[in-house]
Structures are given as structure tokens and as C-alpha cells.
Symmetry: C2
């Protein structure tokens, strides 16, 4: 395994050996460096590059589809008047552009813009549909599209965004565009299967769900598109097949690390980012990764947790007892170790394709960013 | 305008001038020839060619998506056991293959198989989603996918079929595949806008809907994919841009003729094909083309029809009076003349690209077939 020895980057193995699992932004101490500023700058630059392409793509839609999509992206209010935009952090297009730049320099980064826009369109198509299926009423602090326009329009706008994304790549004259479109289409199928698993698992009892199932679901739902984003950047850089696969694996592993940490925050909260109230996932009886790990531990705490999870929310929850049961059953420690392990694998895959830490810098910053934030 | 002079094909202008509008299968008399056998043979051959490609495509899906899709295509029962298949008449893939053969011969027809399969996958993706939005419980005499698997799974399977279709073209090494994928993606956006118009118009009063709006909706919902199918066949035959556009226009016009005749049958029924009971569209207060034309005629019958349409179905319908009102207001005659006119335009576009009637034979048979059947 090639490892970056730069002195300015945290060494994934260290974090794990140190037993801290997931270093937080406040304990950057020993390994220094990461403060999120670099990633924030990359994301801001990406939004500036990709937004005009996204806006132009949406402008090509017929009026009805354009209106719903522009609302969803935050560029229009519900009444159709212009809004400032609230289209998320652009992590996926940032990964496309960073991977293209890392493997092919500035020219590849510029050429990869359609791929970056396509990946972001696919992400938003899945959000539109997932919100309908999950009956989620809020997205990015605004009412979801289906609550404003109805289910049919939200489904149709999602369908149109998928077509727009794959059509944009098909129409792109770049020599990698066909392979990129085929890969992105495969990824969509995986995202659909992941969302299916998620909704299917919600209907089962917490003890009927295995850890392997939840991990596979998280990989399909979260890891696949992050991996695909990195792979598309590599394709647009003209990288050899091995490097494309390594970049895909990098994104997948980082995506799983992100999900694990997001699940930890969903139970124990985050002292700095309080977007999610501590314990929210327990109140919702969510079969998150730490909970399923805890339930499968065979410990007395697992039995206690299973009993608490079986009680309906209406009866009032003993949050402290629940949280403690997950912790005592080893759910938190497992998730933190898994996250660190996944990040180590991500770094290893990245180093395989891009041995030079200078070139890999943008991708490293983004991976660190997603695994240190909750939203 | 080039016209076929074969003595064996009905002359669209004649049918119109004779005031009969839409010749039925029993009155083939003066112009002879069309008995549907040729089209039936083409469709059967198409099913035999395209079904293996479709089955292979669905087999590539993850288990959950495969199961829902195979049920939708009629290849599996709801319990997952094999079924004989009930995947519709394959008109769209037949148009792809016939267009490729007409412009490029047998080799082009063979090469166009992925395009034929892709078009059929797109058609079925829209059926899965439309059934969810329209709450239709029956499709091809079987319970719709959403009634069996739930809304979420029907939405996800539709999403996966769209990805499969566009991904299949993107991965096809044929030189026309990228242009075909881009064109099919554009068509999906048009289909979405058409379905949006349809659902939006249902919420408005019958007199608030204009004929232009209903015609535009029918073109987007029905004409677009028939046109795209023909255009994809032309692309795979390596045809020049003008011929691709002519084939698209041929399919669109034939699709509109089909919709007009389908709407006529929805009111007056069909003496031979009783798949739809006569008057069904009036009972449902459907804003079909003859009804909207009748309502906009400014005749006393239009006023009467508007009053009858305003009554809720529960109060008991005077079907005879309603049917007569549409007829007296000129709705039937208008629709029949429009259909004949659209077919004439379709023939004209076809003759422009393929002057030889022998070569155009398959496409002519299919166009005649779709405009003479109700289902």
C-alpha cells in the first residue's frame, strides 16, 4: 500500500490506532492541517463553475419541467419568482472536477464540466424521487417539490432531470462521454436498488436486518454516486481502466465513511454542527449502522436496546437509556472504527491511482470534508 | 409532394375527399389491400427479435429491480413464478427496425436492435410512472405494478428502465448510438412535459382547455416517441439529417392520427374491437380531442354538451344525448378529417425520405395498423 507522507495530512492508520476513530475538526492536533478551508474553497469554486452549466441545462427544458426543477434547485420560489439558489454543497461535481484535474490537469478539468453537471443532475433527480417516496416535507430548509407541485410533477421533473443528465453526456463530443454516460446509467440502477433496499428495510423489524444488508444499502445509496463521480472525472482525464476503478473505489469508501459518521452524529449529535438534534435517529427508530451493529452484538445491552426499539414512540422515550445501550453494545465504537477503516481504504485506492499527494490534494480535502460534516 | 402510386395502398387524400375520414378495416373496398396481416407479421417478428434483448437487459438489473420489471413486462407473476409474457404489441421497436430496414437494408435492421430495445424500455418506464400518477389499476389486463409492489417500487423500476435504455445506447459501439441516445433523452423530456400537460388539464374545466393545447399534449405524449422510434431507425441506417427529421415527422403525424382515432373510438366505440365500451370517455368526462373540438365549435350543441359535461357522473348520464351533442357540434367529423389529414402528412413525410413504396412498405403497414386499431 502506497501512503502519502506529507506531514500535513492526517495518516488514516494513526487515527485508527489511536482509538479515536473519527477525528473531529477540533482535534486536528497531532496530524495538523485539515481545517476544511481548502475543501470549502473547492466547493465554492465548483458551484461557480457548475451552476451556469446547470442553469443552462434547466433552461433547455419545457416550461413546466423547468419551473419544477428550478424550484427544486432553489433558483425559483414556489410562485416562480427568482431566488438566490440553494442547490446544496456540490460535493459530487467537485469530485468529478478534482478527479479530472488530478489525473489530467486543468484541460481535463475544463473538459469534464458536462460530467460534473450530469452527476449533479442525477443526484437531484434521486432527491426529487426519494422525497416523494419517503414523504419528506423539507429539503435544504425549504418545502420539497412534491409538497408544492404534487407527486406527479415531482416524479416527472425527476424523470426529466435523469434524461437531461444522460442526454447531456450522450451529446458531448468528448471521447470519454459515451463510457461516462454508460457508467452513470449503471450507477442510477444501483441508486434505485439502494433506495429500494432502504424502503424495504423500513418495513422489517430492527432485529431482522443484518449489518451486511445495511452496509450494502449504504454503499448503493451513498457510495455508488460518489464513486461514479470520481470515476467520471478519471474517464474525462483519459485515465487507464485501473485508475478509473481505483477512483471509483476511493469515492465509494469515502461515501461509506461519510454514512457511518452521519449515523454516529444522528445518535450522539455533533458538538459544533447542530443541524440534526442528538438522538433524532433513535426517536425515528432508524435502522442506522451503529444501531444494527449494536443489535447484532449478542450483548445484554443489545437485548435492552431491542426492547426499547420495540416500544412505540408515543409512550415517551428514555433517550439516555437508548443512547447508552447502543454505546454499551459497541455500536459507536464499531461505527467509528469502520469509518476510519473505510477512510484508510479510500486513501489506499487514491494513492494507487495518484501517488503524488500534491496532485491528489483536492480529492483528499473533499474526502476529509465529507467525512467530518453531518450535512 | 411525392405520393406513392401503387394501386395497392389507400390514398390518404381520397379517404378525406370522400368524407369518410377514417377508413375502417371493413371498408377497404375501393382502395383495397390493407388487411392488417402484414403489420401483424411485422409485429410478431419484432417481438421475437426484441424480446430476447429486453429479457437480457432486465436480467442485468439487481434482483429487486429485475423482479418488478419482469412483472410489468408480463414475464413473471406477482409471486415471482414465470409467466408467458404480455408485453404489448411492440409497435415502437417495430418502427425502429422497419425504419432502419427501409433506409439501410437488413444489416441496418440488425444493427438497430439496441435502439429498438431502448425505445421499448423507455415506453415501459413511462407506463410504470404514468400508472402511479394516474392511479390506473389495470394495464394489459393485469394489476399494475404499483398495486402489486407499491408506489415506491414502481417509481424505482421506471427509473431503472430509463437508465437501462439510455445506458444501453451509450454502451453500443455503433457510430449512431450517441446521437440516438441524445435524441431519445430529448424525447423523454418531451414525454414528461406531455404527461404533465395531461394531468394539469384534468384539473381544469372542459371549456378552459383549448384544442391547440390538447393537440400539443397528444403530440408530446403519443407522437413524440413514435417519431423518435422512426428517427432512431434512420440514424442507425446512417441516413442524412433530412431523412432522420422526415422519419420523425412521419411517426409524429401517424401518432397524432392514432390518438384522434382512439378518441373517436372512446366515444362511438368500434364495431369490431370492443376493448373499450362505447361512451367510456364521456362517462369519465375526458377532455378528448373530439370533445374539446365540439366544445369550441360555438354551436348550440356545444352549449348543450358543456352543460352535460358539468353534471357529475353520479346523477346518471344521458349517454345518447351526450354522444349526439358531440356529433352535432362537429366533434366527430373534425376528428376524422384531422386524422386523415395527419395520415396524409405522415405519408408525405415518408415519401420525402423513402420515395420507393416497396422500401417504405413496412412503415406504411405499421402506420396503417396503429391508426385502425383502438388498443
Amino acid at each position: 500500500m502506497t501512503e502519502y507522507v506529507t506531514g500535513t495530512r492526517p495518516h488514516p492508520g494513526e487515527a485508527r490506532a489511536g482509538g479515536r476513530g473519527i477525528p473531529s475538526q477540533t482535534d486536528g492536533g497531532g496530524t495538523g492541517a485539515f481545517d476544511g478551508h481548502e475543501a470549502a474553497a473547492i466547493l465554492e469554486e465548483t458551484r461557480g463553475t457548475v451552476d451556469p452549466a446547470l442553469q443552462a441545462a434547466l433552461d433547455s427544458l419545457p416550461g413546466s419541467m423547468r419551473r419544477i426543477s428550478r424550484y427544486h434547485f432553489g433558483w425559483e420560489h414556489a410562485d416562480g419568482t427568482p431566488a438566490a439558489g440553494n442547490a446544496g454543497k456540490a460535493i459530487r461535481p467537485a469530485l468529478v472536477l478534482a478527479a479530472a484535474a488530478a489525473l489530467g490537469g486543468p484541460a481535463a478539468r475544463t473538459a469534464a464540466l458536462p460530467a460534473a453537471a450530469a452527476v449533479e443532475l442525477i443526484h437531484n433527480f434521486t432527491l426529487l424521487h426519494d422525497d416523494v417516496m419517503d414523504r419528506d416535507a423539507t429539503r435544504r430548509h425549504r418545502p420539497t417539490a412534491w409538497t408544492v407541485f404534487g407527486d406527479a410533477d415531482a416524479i416527472l421533473a425527476g424523470d426529466a432531470l435523469q434524461a437531461l443528465a444522460l442526454g447531456m453526456l450522450a451529446a458531448d463530443p468528448h471521447p470519454a462521454s459515451a463510457a461516462a454516460a454508460a457508467r452513470l446509467a449503471d450507477c442510477v440502477v444501483e441508486l434505485c436498488a439502494g433506495q429500494h433496499s432502504d424502503t424495504a428495510m423500513e418495513k422489517r423489524g430492527p432485529s431482522e436486518v443484518t449489518l451486511d444488508e445495511v452496509l450494502a444499502m449504504a454503499e448503493a445509496k451513498t457510495g455508488a454516486l460518489l464513486g461514479c463521480a470520481c470515476a467520471l472525472g478519471a474517464l474525462y482525464a483519459g485515465a487507464p481502466e485501473d485508475d478509473v476503478e481505483a477512483l471509483d473505489a476511493f469515492g465509494r469508501e469515502a461515501g461509506l465513511a461519510f454514512q457511518l459518521i452521519d449515523d454516529v452524529i444522528g445518535i450522539w449529535g455533533d458538538p459544533r454542527h447542530t443541524g440534526k438534534p442528538a438522538g433524532a435517529d433513535l426517536v425515528a427508530r432508524k435502522k442506522s449502522l451503529p444501531v444494527v451493529a449494536a443489535l447484532g452484538s449478542g450483548t445484554p445491552a443489545a437485548t435492552e436496546l431491542a426492547e426499547l426499539y420495540a416500544l412505540p414512540h408515543e409512550q415517551g422515550d428514555d433517550m439516555e437509556r437508548m443512547t447508552l445501550a447502543v454505546e454499551r453494545a459497541g455500536g459507536r465504537e464499531w461505527a467509528q472504527e469502520q469509518a476510519a477503516d473505510r477512510m484508510a481504504r479510500a486513501m489506499s485506492e487514491l494513492a494507487r491511482a495518484i501517488p503524488d499527494p500534491e496532485s491528489a490534494g483536492g480529492l483528499l480535502s473533499l474526502a476529509e470534508f465529507v467525512t467530518r460534516r453531518s450535512t
